[in-house]
Structure formats: C-alpha cells, structure tokens
C-alpha cells in the first residue's frame, strides 16, 4: 500500500463532510473544535496510523477543491506510470 497524506485548505473548507464519508480509510473527520472565518468546521486528516494511501478519492469528491494529495514517489513508480 502506498503511503500518502493530504492537506486540507482550512480557510476554504466548508465542512461538508463529503470527503469524510468518501475516504476508503475513514481517516478524515470534521474538526468541530475549529471554526474558520466563514463559520465552518473544516475537515482534517486524523491519520495517526498513517493509513492514508494517497488515493485522492477525497480530493475528487471535494466540492471546494481544498484538498491537496501527496504520495510517496515510489508508490507511483510502483504503479508503473512514471517509467
């Protein structure tokens, strides 16, 4: 399994939670402690176990394009696409 991570742009996130339900690893959650200046609770990665695969599913469903997805390069090579 590839190793990945995501960063949520908290200022743009509207806390819709679509990413949290879409993530196959169930490692995204809404941060009810934080409120951005539009009054939304943003999503954040809660991945203590490092389960994020960098599959980008969260980014594909995010209506506010506020998720950036990273993945370790070798994973990509593993996918044979970068040859």
């Amino acid at each position: 399994m590839a190793h990945g991570m995501i960063i949520v742009d908290e200022a743009h996130c509207k806390g819709c939670a679509l990413c949290t339900t879409a993530c196959p690893q169930q490692i995204l959650e809404i941060d009810t402690q934080t409120l951005n200046d539009r009054g939304y609770h943003p999503a954040h990665l809660a991945d203590p176990a490092g389960r994020c695969t960098g599959c980008a599913i969260c980014a594909v469903i995010c209506p506010d394009a506020c998720i950036t997805v990273y993945r370790e390069a070798r994973a990509k090579q593993g996918g044979g696409k970068d040859a």
């Binding site: 980014a59 997805v69 990273y70």
Partner: protein, 265 residues
C-alpha cells in the same frame, strides 16, 4: 505500519492539487454543493487540454452566476437563460476561441429553452455544461422544469403534480434529436466513480469543440443540499436513488466523429 504525517516529506509528490484554471478564491456555494465539483472538473479538463488561454466562459444567472470569478479564463455574464445566444455571438466573432456556457436547469430548461434548442439546432460550436439539480437553487428552491413528480419545492409545496405543472423535462433526450447536436451525454456527480466519468465527458465535449464539430452538452446531475433540505451526504444519495432513475445516465448522442475523439482522448 507507516507513521502519520503532518507535512509532505521530500519523497512525496503532489498527486492532486487545485487546478490552475480554477481561481484560488472562495466560492459562495453552500457546503457540499456539487456545483463546486462541476467547476473543478471543468477546470481540470481545461488544464489538461491546455486551452485555458483560449476559453471564454459564459456564466448563467443561477447559483453559478459568479462562475466567471472562479475560473482563470475570460468570462462574462449572460442574462437568465440567454447564455447560448450570447455564446453564439461570441463564437461567431471569435471562432478560434473555445466558448463554454455553464447553466442550471432553471436557466437552460425553463426560461432559456428556446435559446438552447436553437443553439443545438444550429449546431453552434459551443460546449454547454448543464447542471441539473432539479430545482431553482439561487432563488431558494422553487420548482424547475426538471423537478420530479411529487417533489416538494417552495413553489410546489404539495409536491409537483403532473396535472397542474406537467412532467419533468429531459433535455438530453430532447436535444439529442436535433441534427445539429454532436455530443450530448448525461453524467452524475454523486460519487467518485461517476465524478470521474463526468470529467471524461467534459473533456470529450471540449475536444468536440476544438475539432470544430457541432453543439456539445454535458448534463450533470447535481445536488442542492440546501434546497432539498438534506445533508450533503444525503443529497448525494438522493441523486442516486431519485434523480438517476428519472434521468438515466448515458450517451444520448455521440456522432461518429465525436466517438473517435472520445477514444483518442
């Protein structure tokens, strides 16, 4: 097991990021509204085709009224329903540019029915992104021609009744009957798989215009959590269970030339 990360490591590369054609500003859309997804897909398609500097976007009157703010392309604002006419004026004056209208169901199927019909009949070389959320989003959830029978809206409080207001309008079915249309498909934005298919369709539609073929339209079944009175997640479910059965996904018209482009893509 891997360690949790808070910042990307040096070995990591960006797999997905904000598309360049999409502005870095905040949209005014409600949380979970799939207008945002439609925007992102269109921006990605523009980026991938490398046409950002050629696009002229015609924004509708509807929730997407500010679309021109959200894309890093030349853009303008049409009057309610008239985007296809405006796009016609633009395309005829700038045939080398790629002209895209982005329209809601009230805009395209109700007040602008004549304009979209005639743009398609003329085979106008424009691309229409048609966001069908079965409701007038911007004005607060009134019935649209695409509202389902029985659907409660703020202007059909007892649910839409066929005897009084007729039947849902199927724009893909309608426009695909016209000889001038080249690429008419319906996709959905309710889950990742469908979103990916939608993206592909948008790309093909733009290729159709780049190739100078006729009129192209991608209908996107889209959510309006706010006016449907559902959470964003529930709204996705509603698309799947209610909208899709009424508005079957599929390719309504793909001419042979368009098919060739689709494959090539």
């Amino acid at each position: 097991m891997m360690q949790a990360l808070r910042e990307p490591t040096a070995e990591m590369e960006v797999i997905y990021q904000h598309p360049a054609a999409l502005s870095e500003c905040r949209t005014h859309y409600c949380p979970g509204c799939t207008h945002g997804i439609a925007h992102r897909l269109l921006a990605e398609a523009i980026d991938e085709l490398g046409i950002r500097e050629r696009v002229i976007l015609v924004a509708p009157v509807g929730c997407a009224v500010f679309a021109y703010e959200y894309f890093e392309v030349d853009g303008c604002e049409a009057a309610h329903g008239r985007a296809p006419a405006m796009a016609t004026g633009i395309k005829r004056s700038c045939p080398e540019n790629l002209v895209i209208t982005y329209q809601g169901d009230g805009d395209l199927a109700s007040i602008g029915a004549a304009e979209i019909l005639h743009a398609a009949a003329r085979g106008e070389r424009i691309t229409t992104i048609f966001v069908n959320n079965a409701v007038y989003g911007m004005t607060g959830g009134q019935m649209a021609p695409t509202s389902l029978l029985g659907q409660k809206t703020t202007s059909s409080p007892a649910g839409r009744m066929a005897t009084l207001t007729g039947y849902p309008l199927h724009m893909c079915e309608l426009l695909s009957g016209l000889q001038g249309s080249t690429y008419i498909v319906r996709r959905s934005l309710h889950d990742v798989r469908h979103i990916r298919q939608a993206k592909k369709a948008i790309t093909t539609a733009l290729r159709v215009q780049m190739a100078g073929l006729g009129f192209g339209m991608v209908e996107l079944l889209s959510s309006c959590p706010t006016n449907w009175g559902l959470t964003p997640e529930q709204a996705m479910g509603w698309i799947e269970t209610k909208l899709i059965p009424q508005y079957p996904l599929g390719d309504y018209k793909v001419t042979d030339e368009a098919k060739a482009l689709e494959k090539a893509g």
